[in-house]
Amino acid sequence: MPLLAILAALAVGGGVMAISGINPWEGYVAMARGAFGGPSRIGVTVTKATPLILAGLGVALPFRCGLLNIGGEGQIYIGALTATLVALGLPGLPLALHLPLVILAGFVGGAVWGGIPGFLRARFKLNELITTIMLGYIAFWIVSYLVHGVMKDPQGGGYPWSVRIPDSAILPIILRGYRINLGFILALVCAALAHLVLWHTAFGFEMRAVGAGPLAARLAGINPERTTVLTFALGGGLAGLAGMAEVMGVQYRLSDFFSPGYGWDAIVVALAGQSSPVGVVLVGLFFGALRNGAEGASRSIAMPTSISLIIQALTLLFVVGSNSVVLRRAWERRVRRRVGDSG
């Protein structure tokens, strides 16, 4: 079903291109070339997908537990901040020790920031929609305050960003020709772990049980409050890793504009990926390719990059539509009628 939704989105996207005076065939060829035409293009696609996959997992897991984490953006910023603090605060360590600490710091920062709405929901029944959004703004402004103030690079030419992180904290490039850094591998490992947790551990079972029937789960002896807090912390931690990966793998500095809304796109990725870790990886890669392809096409045939955002939005729309019971029933009726006609 999601595959059909993506095809439908591409078809309508082609229509949009035609309206804006671009031959859809040429447009898509240019986009494909931009996304996959050569090792470096593939590398950029994958690098763009990395934070989407990590933050997407950070939405997908809580969603399985009946929680909507729409504050991924804030968890990304805090994860990036704590990782940067460890990166800058412990210079001189060997990479084998420093980098794991930095990664861990990113996870812990995000987990704390995600754990707060989890705790507020579990303890005071506060709606996580509101608390995650509000904490998102707080996180952004904390980072903004710091990079304009104490963390500002004196030699940064006035830009609001931090000092460059030491080499021992940089996610190393692992495929030199493709410029793919360790962050992408980390995202794949996280997706695999998320899949295992969700389907093969007692904790994952508790998560899904609380999501599917909180009262039934409670009566069966599961503690929904504990599960809520832990799930939210896990989701926040994954989003925190997204922020860490973007700073340590791509930008090498913390700024207050390093995320172009990955936390928001993560919601789309998680929903379009049907909240399954495998789906999140696939949709994350697709969206990464879409953006990279659109940038390529804008250079080669001057196609507006907003086309990629339109296709992204259409994908979500079609996925939501394909999940609609009403539309699905109507479709089945049509199919049945057609079968009936032929027989």
Partner: protein
């Protein structure tokens, strides 16, 4: 006399199921016609066709002798057909009058004439003895009142034929009696009623004729006065049903469940919802706590299940003080619990059947080691339970929400009883189940009792209580009116207690009534 409504060999198939197979069915004016059948027999499909919610594959509907097509509910309403669904179609925030006026054009259209609506509502209320306040907000009404609002809404739209889909499933016995009085007056004034039910007793009590459906076919239509509960039950399931469950005398042993002067304070109002409840259940016996719904059962159940704190008193189970227990402690203590509400308390509807079966035991060896689940083992155990408890489904991987109510209850039963608990708390364990499934639940509970379990049965179904229990307590207004041995229980005594008379105050000699313990059918 020509029938008001005649449905002639109506057939409807869904992929894989023949829901209605050439069903013919008629209702006369001034008649209450019961449509009886097990869950999935095709009652609801037939009525959905009548109400224009699905179209039949073949067959004709005659209304007042003329063939009609009913492509939508709108047309059905226009003809004079009203439908009272199980789940009410009312807007909780609106008043009764607003709900009734919804979707209608008044005389002063486009202005709203609620006052006129309310006046006509009151006239209808008086005409049919339907007490309902037009200005009350629906959310403040009891379930019985909401149902009356639905009926009044249908009558307001000119319904001549009312279809009630399992109307008593949501009602307390008292509310059901009020509903029957309303149906009586509708019949007396020439309206027709289709009464969908699978409760034999009610069908015998209220209907003039009964049509029995079984697996999509109309088995028979008989005048109610010429049939009996046994005969109807046989027709429904197609085999003789042992409504009279044979049971050995109880051999009670040690005390297992003990409530000591339990009181529970209401959170909103500063009064006790439950007061001074003391009750014991010994091993090898079933003790029932019955009463009209809303007399303190819910807070008591919540306290027993560890969902709510008591404000005074103690509860102990199997010698352990469980007064301040959480649900997980009860799971550890192996207390079998069958909650009343399958869909929210009993099951996680979107999880698979085998996961629901494992909900209390997943985190133990051998299904779980070091926090890692062994799905093969979970599924193997589920297959065994599926055979033992005769849970019918295509696959244990199916979401439990896709199962019929009876099979869902079997899943709950299997989970509650799989570890052979010594203490069982069952709340309305057969609500909404058909005869076959009900019998199955009864047998399982009795078998558990015979193996020495202590069973506390909290139920509003008097028939069930009389059929299963060894001792019967009645709760009224949060207090226990008395506890009787089942052999001394009769409807008069229980009825008086349910209405608030303590057993101690009761005269020794009561007017003679039929003792009908062990479920003998009503004469």
């Amino acid at each position: 006399m020509d029938a008001l409504l005649r449905m002639d060999s109506v057939t409807k198939s869904f992929p894989g199921v023949l829901a209605n197979d050439r069903i013919s069915f008629e209702v006369a004016e001034g008649e209450i016609h019961a449509l009886l059948g097990e869950n999935g027999a095709g009652k609801t499909t037939l009525m959905r066709i009548l109400y224009g919610m699905t179209s039949p594959d073949s067959g004709t509907i005659y209304w007042r002798g003329k063939p009609v097509r009913i492509p939508s509910s709108h047309v059905a309403i226009g003809l004079g057909i009203g439908m009272i669904h199980q789940h009410f179609m009312l807007i909780p925030e609106f008043t009764v009058a607003e709900n009734v006026a919804l979707g209608l054009r008044g005389d002063r259209s486009p202005l709203l004439d609620l006052r006129g609506t309310a006046q006509r509502l009151e006239a209808l209320s008086a005409q049919f003895g339907l007490r309902v306040d037009p200005w009350a907000r629906v959310k403040d009404l009891s379930t019985g009142e909401q149902q009356r609002a639905e009926i009044v809404k249908a009558l307001y739209r000119g319904a001549h034929l009312l279809v009630l889909d399992e109307p008593t499933a949501v009602l307390t016995p008292g509310e059901a009696d009020e509903l029957f009085a309303v149906l009586d007056s509708l019949r007396a004034q020439g309206r027709a009623v289709v009464f969908i039910s699978h409760k034999l007793r009610e069908v015998m009590q209220i209907s003039d004729r009964v049509t029995v459906l079984r697996r999509g076919r109309a088995v028979a239509t008989v005048p109610t006065c010429e049939t009996s509960q046994e005969q109807l039950a046989n027709m429904m399931v197609g085999r003789p049903v042992v409504l009279q469950i044979e049971r050995s005398p109880a051999r009670p042993g040690k005390e297992v469940i003990r409530l000591d002067e339990v009181a529970i304070r209401s959170r909103e109002h500063h009064r006790n919802e439950v007061e001074d409840i003391s009750l014991t259940v010994r091993e090898g016996e079933i003790v029932a706590l019955t009463g009209v719904a809303g007399n303190g059962q819910r807070p008591l159940i919540e306290a027993l299940f560890g969902l709510r704190r008591v404000s005074a008193g103690h509860i102990s189970i199997l010698g352990r003080d469980v007064t301040a227990c959480r649900p997980c402690d009860l799971v550890a203590l192996n207390v079998g619990r069958i909650p009343e509400d399958r869909q929210t308390m009993g099951l996680a509807m979107s999880l698979s059947v085998y996961e629901n079966l494992a909900l209390e035991t997943y985190d133990r060896e051998p299904t779980c080691r070091w926090g890692v689940l062994r799905r093969g083992e979970l599924r193997r155990q589920a297959q065994l339970l599926r055979e033992e408890y005769d849970i019918r489904m295509p696959s244990i991987d199916l979401p439990v929400g896709k199962l019929s109510g009876g099979n869902q209850q079997k899943v709950i039963l299997a989970r509650a009883l799989r570890r052979r608990p010594r203490a069982i708390i069952a709340v309305d364990p057969t609500r909404g189940l058909d005869v076959g499934a009900t019998e199955f639940v009864y047998r399982q509970l009795l078998a558990a009792r015979d193996q020495g379990a202590a069973v506390l049965l909290i139920s509003t179904d008097l028939e069930e209580v009389l059929c299963l229990s060894d001792r019967i307590g009645v709760i009224y207004n949060g207090q226990i009116m008395g506890v009787l041995p089942a052999t001394e229980a009769d409807e008069t005594r229980l009825g008086l207690m349910m209405a608030g008379m303590p057993l101690a105050n009761m005269p020794d000699v009561l007017p003679p009534t039929h003792t009908f313990s062990n479920c003998s059918p009503q004469p």
